[in-house]
C-alpha cells in the first residue's frame, strides 16, 4: 500500500499537525510499511462477522443524577497557556 505525499498532507490537515517536508517523507514511507504489513487482514474472510468496538458487552450504563461540587474555576484555568480571569484566550478564530 503506497501512500502518496498528497495523502500525507491531507491527513496532516485533518489531524491538525504541521509537518516539515522531511517529516512528510518519513511518515509517508513508514505509513506505507505499516499499511503493507496490515494488508494481511484484508485477506481474511469476515463476511457475516460483526465488528467489536469494545470487549465488554456494556449497554447504557446509568447512575443516579446527583448534584456534586464541580471544580473551582481558578483550578479549571490553572493549566491554560493563556487565561484571562476565568476565560481561555485564543488567537483570532474568524
Amino acid at each position: 500500500m503506497a501512500v502518496s505525499i498528497e495523502d500525507v498532507e491531507h491527513v496532516a490537515k485533518l489531524a491538525r499537525l504541521h509537518l516539515t517536508g522531511e517529516e512528510k517523507e518519513t511518515i509517508r514511507r513508514q505509513l506505507s510499511d505499516v499499511l503493507e504489513h496490515a494488508r494481511v487482514i484484508s485477506e481474511v474472510d469476515t463476511s457475516g462477522v460483526p465488528p467489536t468496538s469494545h470487549a465488554l458487552p456494556l449497554v447504557n450504563v446509568y447512575r443516579e443524577d446527583e448534584a456534586r461540587p464541580s471544580l473551582d474555576p481558578d483550578e479549571v484555568v490553572s493549566n491554560a497557556a493563556w487565561a484571562v480571569e476565568h476565560s481561555f484566550k485564543v488567537p483570532r478564530i474568524l
Binding site: 491527513v11 509537518l19 513508514q30 487482514i41 468496538s53 497557556a81
Partner: protein, 496 residues
Amino acid sequence: MSADIPYKDALSIAALIREREISALEATEAFLARIEEVEPRVHAYINLAAERARDSAAGIDRMLQKGQALLQHRYAGVPIAIKDVLSTKGFTTTCGSRILENFVPVYDATAVERVSEAGTVMLGKANMDEFAMGSSTENSYFGPTSNPWDLERVPGGSSGGSAAAVAAGEAPWALGSDTGGSIRQPAALCGIVGMKPTYGLVSRYGLVAFASSLDQVGPMTLNVPDCAALLGVIAGHDPRDSTSIQQPPMDYLGSLSSEVRGMKAGVVRELSSEGIEPGVLDSFKRAVEVLEGLGVSCEEVSLPSFSYGLSAYYLIAPAEASSNLARFDGVRYGFRTDAEVDDIWEMYDRTRAEGFGPEVKRRIMLGTYALSAGYYDAYYAQAQKIRTLIVRDYGRAWESYDVLVSPTSPSVAFRLGEKTADPLSMYLSDICTIPVNLAGIPALSLPCGLSEGLPVGFQVMGPPLAEQKLLDIAYALEQALGFDALPPVASAGEVA
C-alpha cells in the same frame, strides 16, 4: 538496617512498619537513598516527589504512633512509583510528553486515590514512552530509561520506568498501564511481575487516554503475592468510569493458593513458535515442564486469528489515539507554541507539531488515515471484525482450558537505539501481548529464567475476571521456579 530495605517486597515492608520494626519515614528514606545511588544510571523517574514522600511518610508515622491508623491503611508506609500517565493532584503529570511538561492535575486518578487511601507513599512519577506509545521507553521526551540488567539495553515499554524502578530496588511497588502489553512486556524484560487486569476491573478515571477500549491500569511488583495485594487495592467499581465493572471486592491475596493440580493450560502455538528468539523459547518450554510437574496438564492449542492480532491492533489503537489526542490543542491545558500565528488553526497545527514527538505524530497520522473517508472500511472496520475473531478464538479456548500460556515477549531486552529507526520492528515486540487487550481479558507476566543473562517473561492469560486463577498459577510456578536472580545494578558500585 535501612540499606537492607530496598529489594524487600512490599508485603514485608508493610509488616515491618505495622510491627514498628521500622518507621514509614525510614522506609521512604531507604528508597530515596537507593534512588540517589542508582537513578543517574537507570533514570526510572521523570519527576521525584522526595519532599512530598517524606511529609506523607511522617504523617503516617504520626498516625501509627497515636494508634490512629485506619483499617483501610492496609499498606501504611509502603513506597510506590506511579507511571506518569496517571493524574496526581498537585503533582506534575507529563505523560512523557513535552505538551504536558508543566501540567499539574487538579484531581487524582482513582487508582492513585486508592493506593493513597491504603497508606502508600508515592516516591515519584515513573518514566514512559510518550502517551504510552512505544515498547522501549525511548519515546519519552525526558530521555530513555536503562534496563537494570544491562544499562545498554531498554527496559521495555511503555511502562519502562515503573518496571526498572522495581527491578533496580527504587520502589517495591509500581503502577503501570497496559494498552498492548505496556505492563507485561517491560515486566518481562526487567525480570519482575506485571499484570493487566480484565478491562473494566480497575477504573480508568484520571488515566490519560491512549486507546480507551484497550487501556487498563495494573500492578508491577517483585513477586506474585505483592501483585495480588496491589491488585486488591486498585480493583473495584468506580461510578466515574462508565466502563467500570460492577464486581464485589475480592481479596486476591487472602485467597492466594498454589494448589493448581488438575488445571488445564493451553500453549498458544501462534505465540510460541515462529518469530520467538530461541533462548526465550527454551526458557519458556522449561517453565511449561515445571508447570506440568505441578499437575497442570499442558498441550498445544492453535488460535489462528492471533496471526492477525498485531495488524488489527496497529489500526485500532492509533485510530482511538488520534481521536483521544485531539484534546491537546494548546487552549485548556498544556504547552502552546510561542510562534507568531495568524489564527487559531495555525496555533493548533504549530502547538501539536512542537508538543508531540515523532512516534505520537506517526500514530496520530496512522489513526487519522485509517479512519478517513475511503479507507475506513478497508482498515478500521476490518480490524474491528478481526477483533471479533480473536474474542471468539479465546472463547473457544476457555471451553477446554483454564488458562493459556506463551512467552510474554519474543525477545529479551534489546539494545537502546536498535529499533528506533524502524517502527514496524518495534511494533513486533508486542506480538504476544496484543491479543489480550483486543479481547479485554486478564494476563500476567512473571520471570521464568534468564537467556544470555537477561530475564525471560512467562505470560499466563485467562477468561474475563479470572485474576485469582492467574495469580494462583503464577504463585505456584514462581515457587517451583525459584527465580531469585537480581540485576547487576543491585550490587554494582559506580560505573567504571
